[in-house]
Amino acid sequence: MAPLTPAAGPSEGANADTIADRDTNRELRIEVQHLDHWFGAGETAKQVLCDINLTVQAGEIVILTGPSGSGKTTLLTMLGGLRAAQSGSLKVLGEELLDADNTSLTRLRRQAGFIFQAHNLLPYLTALENVRFGLEVTPAWLERGRAAMDDCAAAMLGQVGLAERLDYYPEKLSGGQKQRVAIARALAPSPRLLLADEPTAALDKSSGRDVVALFRQLANDSGAAIVMVTHDNKILDIADRIINLEAGQLVDN
């Protein structure tokens, strides 16, 4: 219905320019607006997140701090598509997760990397296979075949310092080594969004630093957005931004 005017051409061109500019380094990977979240329903419902507003851009590392019970993990699981949003707006990797169904949540989870406090490796798979299993969830990696996936997994394990432990089962690895396998599993598919819950808790100082350097590398090289919950003061300096959550609300530092 819009009248075709000569002015339309130049204005479209200008729009395209700004979009291209955002694509290179300012693309919004996370857009949260007025997000509330409750646990339970009816009389016993308990609000755990309250009017959260947050944006995270590609290539940005955001550290989320706050006392226990402040809703950090809940927010993180929502960003990773483990829970659907109940009210407000939650856009992750361009997809609106308000009242999202299982299928779209599962689709998002495939594109996000998740590192949990507990490593949760599969005990019956070797370190290499555990990392490969993280790749197999993506059809693109399956297409490339097992050899390609093995190469990628081995390289990633090498980067976390486990090149000598590829064929070890988790039960033969130390706590820190297991955590590093879990980190390799999350990093191997080069996720566009990485979510980490206390990733360095089980690591000593130097391997903690190494892991964080990998995060930086992922953010810089492939423009991943990274949101990390941590109390580890030694790695706070890696963050582009530190945000603080208290009683379900974001507070300015």
Partner: protein, 389 residues
């Protein structure tokens, strides 16, 4: 294409099942045991049914005439011989011959123990049963107190076979009258009796004097070559007295098997046995997989968090159940074949493994396993990855 990419996946079900070899062995042993139970019941049932047909398979004709109320060979019912003679009038009928069937006590000469015997009376000039041993010397049947003894009879009958082979005869008594076993034959037992005996029609009448000379128990009708048994059967049915019926040999076998299957508790007992075997297998598989799910809940939640679908996660468990069923099948098949051989030897029942039965049990155990595998995934389907972290 889809299958090819599936093959590139790490075989999780297999890796998880084989990760604890002792546990896997125990699981296989359990499921195999359940399969053997099923095979045992099915084998015994089919052996029982097949063995009941053995005398019928010796019938020397194409059609038989029996009393209308006939149910099985072990309960002989009289019919008049004159009815059988009537059949001779139908075109295509070559000859008819009576089969006398009686049940009587058999006395073991050594232990003085009494056993149940089924005795068949044959007309020597045209025997109603095909007995190769009889063809050698039919005149033996003509001896007034002569008997042939089935060497597949129960051991408890006494060492009749050895004695006859050694001395040529074995003295005993039947229904208070002297009887001499002067020949042996091989037919095989039915559940109707412990011993099978053969004798001539006239001897039969001396041991069963209460029967009238016109009473027979089964009439065998022999047809000319190339004549349709069904056609003669319907002609006979059209004019014969309703107190008798005419059956083909196949129908007679079916009546016999139906009797044992439906009119006795055998059918129910065996079906229950099969059910028990399947339930035992299902419980074992369920136990194993349920504890597997419970032990690895955080790992399964992690899979869901990584983006694997509910179907994928449930699929792992169902694959494991199918894997267990498949791995347990071969050992259970071997064990069952051994068991069949043992049973066949010790009971002289016709018990053998058939491809059909093996496939049927394989299908049953797969369905049973997959079913309990699916039941064991209840927790997994409800598992919310967010609750674990």
């Amino acid at each position: 294409m889809k299958l090819l990419t599936a093959l590139r996946r790490t075989p999780l079900a297999w890796r998880q099942t084989s990760h604890r070899p002792m546990r896997l062995l125990a699981a296989i042993a359990g499921v195999s045991f359940a399969n053997v139970l099923v095979f045992f019941q099915l084998g015994l049932a089919s052996g029982l049914y097949a063995s009941q047909k053995r005398p019928l398979q010796r019938l020397n004709g194409e059609l038989v005439m029996v009393s209308r109320r006939y149910t099985n060979l072990g309960e002989p019912l009289n019919l008049p011989r004159s009815r059988l003679i009537q059949a001779l009038g139908v075109q295509g009928v070559k000859a008819v011959t009576p089969l006398y069937i009686g049940k009587t006590d058999w006395l073991n000469r050594d232990s003085r123990e009494k056993k149940q015997a089924l005795i068949f009376g044959l007309s020597p000039e045209n025997p109603a049963l095909r007995i190769p041993e009889l063809e050698v010397d039919r005149s033996k049947l003509l001896r007034p107190d002569g008997l042939f003894f089935d060497i597949l009879s129960k051991q408890a009958a006494g060492p009749v076979g050895q004695v006859v082979t050694r001395d040529g005869y074995y003295d005993t008594e039947l229904r208070g009258k002297r009887a001499v076993v002067n020949g042996l034959f091989t037919m095989g037992l039915t559940f109707a009796a412990d011993i099978n005996l053969l004798t001539s029609a006239s001897n039969f009448k001396t041991w069963f004097p209460d029967q009238s000379s016109d009473d027979i128990q089964l009439g065998v009708i022999q047809l000319e070559a190339g004549v349709s048994a069904q056609q003669v059967q319907s002609t006979l049915e059209s004019f014969l007295d309703p107190s008798v019926k005419v059956l083909t040999l196949k129908q007679l076998e079916e009546v016999e098997v139906d009797h044992w299957r439906n009119n006795t508790s055998f059918g129910l007992i065996f079906n229950l046995g099969v059910l028990v075997g399947l339930v035992v297998g299902a419980i074992i598989v369920y136990q194993i997989l349920y504890s597997d799910v419970s032990d690895h809940l955080p790992e399964y939640a992690t899979m869901k968090a990584m983006g694997y679908s509910d179907g994928f996660v449930v699929g792992i468990i169902v694959q494991e159940s199918v894997l267990l069923a498949a791995l347990a099948f071969a050992p259970s098949l071997l064990l069952s074949m051994g068991l069949y051989a043992l049973l066949a030897r010790s009971t002289s029942l016709l018990i053998a493994m058939t491809l059909q039965r093996a496939l049927a049990v394989f299908a049953l155990t797969l369905v049973m396993s997959a079913g309990s595998g699916w039941l064991a995934t209840g927790k997994l389907r409800r598992l919310d990855p967010a609750d674990i972290f």
